[in-house]
Amino acid sequence: MYVPGDSPVHALDPRLKLLGFMGMIITIFAVRSAHGYFVMYAFLFVLIILSKVSPRFLLRSVKSIWFLILLAGVFQLFSGYGRVLFEFGPFVVHAESVFLAVEVVSRLIFVVLCASLMTVTTSPIELSDAVESLMGKLPGMKRFAHELAMVMSISIRFVPVMAEEAENILKAQTSRGAPIDDRKFTGKLKGILSVAIPLIVLSLRRAEEIALAMEARGYRGWEGRTRFRELRWKAKDTVFAMMVSSIIILCLFI
């Protein structure tokens, strides 16, 4: 969920944010020492403070996958490496496992915080522009990148539309007596089919209609299109890029 704002983090080039945060996320999986974790977390906290986003808001994203985090932590705890720390009935906790559990949980929390800081400070449009621009940098991919961005913006636009259609179909089929809430297993399957088939038919049909509308308005593909928003690389982006890469290198070697 994007929160508009005018912080230094918001103002960074979206391409840089995409690469930088991805780099940080990959790095946290390669970090081997406690110092490394400390430096990565410290850097992330500095970014959070700079972004002026309330930490509580970011923590909500951690809350949304707390169960996964807990699960991963608990499984590591009983993974049984190293010497026995204590036993409690059938549960045996080993010393090494405690360390592994802490590691996994702190990795996961870091990944969640990093990812949500990126999405909170960058709008979906900026991000899809960034994806297009980065992909277009690869040799021979410019056209493909443009088409992918086109697909993405149509898809973003039509998710709510199709969701509404799905709901209409569900209601229509229920009123015709489709066994949507059937207790029996086969009834449920029939209910699913009675929604799935019309939904797919509808979306295939919609796709043709949208394509016709695009062509009627003169869409002739990639050639000759100009951009409304253009991404510009600024001096502060260079500074930030150097900061991130030096932190990543530092963490990999300590």
Partner: protein, 179 residues
């Protein structure tokens, strides 16, 4: 790409986002229809369209649109314990589409190719999960075994849907399958 291809890809990634939110409780496990959308993309679109529709779906979630199951999004899901399944969606859809095409759209072979398409999903889901729960064996018990039967039913449903469309609305598929 032609405009029609672009819109078909776009709508199938939108459909994946919607089916991922649709939940039905069969037995104790709540199931979503995310995987069914992957299968349907494979069964109905051309290999390239199938691949791209799922790629766009994964990218949309990655850049923060709440399209993953449970309205979640972001790299934390994609690289989290259960993200491995998502990562393989494009490959799976592509594989299903190609096998389907090779099999001349026969019903039994379509079903088999849908099941084969599950393999990359399970494989990458399993491997990534094992990084988090400690050990391949445990990840297999948690992340592969319990879902196999349900996914088989989803494959059946997906094949049923695609055959129904083939039979009753052949005009919609004409352009996709003419070559």
């Amino acid at each position: 790409m032609k405009a029609k291809e672009i819109t078909r890809i776009a709508l199938f990634s939108a459909i994946t986002a919607i089916l991922a939110q649709l939940r039905v409780d069969i037995g104790p496990v709540p199931i979503t229809f995310q995987v069914m959308a992957v299968m349907l993309a494979g069964l109905l679109l051309t290999p390239r369209e199938a691949l791209l529709s799922q790629l766009v779906y994964v990218i949309m979630g990655l850049i923060g649109l709440p399209v993953y199951a449970g309205f979640r999004s972001g790299a934390s899901i994609l690289f989290g314990p259960t993200g491995g399944y998502l990562m393989a969606f494009p490959v799976a859809a592509f594989l299903i589409a190609i096998l389907q095409k090779r099999s001349q759209y026969s019903t039994l072979l379509s079903f088999l190719s849908t099941l084969l398409g599950l393999i990359p999903i399970y494989l990458s889901g399993w491997l990534l999960l094992s990084r988090y729960v400690g050990g391949l064996e445990r990840a297999f018990q948690l992340g592969v075994l319990p879902f196999f039967w349900i996914d088989m039913i989803k494959a059946l449903l997906a094949v049923f849907v695609s055959k129904a469309i083939e039979r009753y609305k052949p005009a919609l598929l004409y352009e996709i399958r003419k070559n």
